[in-house]
Subunit: 261 residues, 2 copies
């Protein structure tokens, strides 16, 4: 690591599912190619799981492992396919809480820092991290595969963000995705801003940035003035494992095969 | 790269789709963490696309870029959701053809080599490559998320493969997935074996290994005697981009935003 670079604090909410280990494995490999990062992984769980513990210990990355459970009332209603409340809210806030409680440690580094919220299923071009590293207040850039478009993006005029390219801007001042912005660590730590479980669907990012008291004019457009997609909101299918049930039914078993996936 | 290691020749068929760049990007990052590999990327295309050309050039990996089009008659029938014929057949064979036509170059390395077929959507633990590097004939290991199970695997007894853990073995001698085996480079290059478009669904791997004239007893079980999953057959959802059409309909456009995703 080059000690003269600002540190990027990457807050990643994660939760238990069949593809969790695979997803975290490839994200780890991306992050291993980035200098000066500190990965804050926050499990949606009552405990820190062995799976994530082992994966982080093996990664050789600088990391902090946290956990906080999303209460059931925030989750899936009985007849709903998706959560009522946005996912990862409490986990991102837990990451922010840790940053603020380690304020002295973090801000004593003369090179400053940046905070980024990186979900564990997105795909990141390593160039993205070099782009965000110089963030003075809040930097922004295009994100692939959001809003039912190939990408959403800030619209840039004269080197400044003047509007947002999105299908439905609604009443958002900041029509960006969670993966589409980073915040200067001083600004983030010294503010008391959190994500809110009361934000409506799709309003999380906007509400957060509004509370940070920044303006459109403060935004720093990155990725060659928002002409490159360097992060994609990829989604991995939950694997079909319906034959597991049939195996159990017929009493078939894999003898030596009780493998953690 | 440690010059005393056998080289792993990784043959990856790929085809144009919305998530291609994202998928190849994260696969590239995984491969950058592996020593002594030679990545043979074979596009299902009449040309070598700029997207793949640029991505490979930027990767700093040792690579060979090939292309061969799968003829339309091998592809999706009008009323079928999936291809009639297995995907990637001609592309893997093109990779093998290249290896055989560079036989002298490859086999002159005293350390030998290994050939592995790595699709661009799977997730690989880098340890997998260390496991396969010592392959004398054919090595095998478990694969996650195949056969509608959490994993399929060779069943090992006394250090040898004695059977296969799978829901439906059918009449396969070798009930492994494409991601579940590697072949010694000498054996691969000196044989004339190819994949066949005539193989039935799910029989590609078996038919290929049968033609290689190996026996169950020849197989080398890796990944701690097949007790670890080090590769997962993850599948990335094709993104929903239905708002693209609506944008066109209403003549909305993103001004500065004609971005390659």
């Amino acid at each position: 690591d080059n000690k003269n670079l600002p540190t990027i604090y990457i807050i990643t909410p994660t939760y238990s599912r069949l593809v969790q280990k695979a997803e975290l494995t490839r994200l780890t490999y991306t992050l291993k190619l980035v200098q000066c990062i500190h990965w804050i992984v926050v499990e949606d769980s009552t405990i820190k799981t062995q799976l994530v513990k082992r994966l982080l210990a093996k990664s050789n990355l600088k990391y902090t492992h946290l956990n906080v459970l999303t209460p059931p009332e925030y989750k899936l209603g009985i007849s709903e396919k998706r959560w009522r409340k946005p996912r990862g809210v409490l986990q991102r806030n837990e990451g922010l809480r840790w940053l603020r409680s380690n304020k002295k440690l973090i801000l004593s580094g003369s090179e400053g820092g940046v905070v980024y919220f990186a979900d564990d299923d997105n795909t990141y071009d390593v160039q993205l991290f070099d782009e965000m590293r110089s963030t003075k207040k809040v930097s922004v850039w295009p994100v692939g595969f959001v809003g039912k478009l190939r990408y959403e993006s800030p619209i840039v005029g004269d080197g400044r963000v003047v509007d947002w390219f999105t299908y439905s801007k609604s009443n958002r001042t900041f029509a960006t995705d969670m993966a589409g912005f980073a915040v200067n660590a001083d600004l983030m730590i010294n503010s008391k801003v959190e994500f809110s479980v009361k934000s409506s669907r799709g309003m999380q990012e906007n509400d957060f940035l509004v509370k940070l008291k920044i303006t459109l004019n403060d935004l720093e457009p990155k990725a060659d003035l928002c002409t490159k997609v360097l992060v994609w909101h990829t989604q991995t299918m939950e694997p079909n494992v319906k034959n597991e049930e049939l195996l159990m039914k017929f009493g078939k078993s894999g003898s030596n095969l009780n493998i953690e996936i």
